[in-house]
Assembly symmetry: C2
Homo-oligomer: 112 residues x 2
DNA sequence: ATGCCACCATAGATATTCTATGGGAGCGAG
DNA sequence: CTCGCTCCCATAGAATATCTATGGTGGCAT
């Protein structure tokens, strides 16, 4: 009924965005999604079906660790925080993103 | 033996890059790959296993049309050119790319 | 007590890209 | 002339990420 944006994320960028969300403070999943939406001025809408599998994936890889706690609204929530490996990974992915997006911009004829 | 870059493309950007390659002149597949590599200063390496399926996909969708011709080195080659729909698609994808990359940059804390 | 919202989770579908492989044909070197 | 190299096309199968859809728990306000 309403106009659907149908804007899928660029595949490969979600991990980086999540890691970046955790850079300064630990957050639980739901909060990460809200944070990304807000910071991107409503442009990035991370679906829960993408978010939670991504979090589990990254925990398996040792980039983040988790602990159960209470959310701001006093609900049970699983908080995630960056591990040292996660910080390294974030740095790596950030660098790759810069290079890749600049390369694409060059092809598209945008300013450097 | 040599240092492998192993830099996958951002999923979703290949179509746009190909369409952009065809914006000013028709090209054959092999030439598109070379062109992208050159314009991106060797950063974008499009594999043939990605390129040809993408071309066929886009032809099926009516974004490009093809014809057989002779390459610069006098070999048989299939040339592709943008259709009107392809031009529209390119415009759409370009706009989406700008918004998406700006949104990501905002999250990452880069300049607007 | 009821309903809403915050919060987690997973299965299955979908789509894209990569790896690996194969083949044909022009051209230059020997 | 034939050998090898590069150009050029093509497809199958694997790997991976994201989305759609669905379900469930438990605070809190009405």
């Amino acid at each position: 009924m309403a106009s659907e944006k149908k804007t899928s994320l660029l595949q490969g960028s979600l991990d980086m965005l999540i890691l970046q969300s955790l850079r300064k403070e630990s957050r639980h999943g739901y909060s990460i999604a809200k944070y990304l939406k807000k910071v991107s001025e409503d442009f990035l809408q991370v679906e829960e079906g993408s978010l939670y599998p991504a979090l589990h994936r990254m925990e398996r890889r040792g980039w983040i660790t988790s602990f159960w706690g209470a959310s701001e609204s006093n609900r049970r929530a699983k908080f995630y925080e960056l591990s040292p490996e996660g910080k390294r990974q974030l740095k790596t992915e950030t660098e790759a993103w810069k290079q890749m997006s600049q390369a694409i911009d060059r092809v598209m004829g945008f300013q450097t």
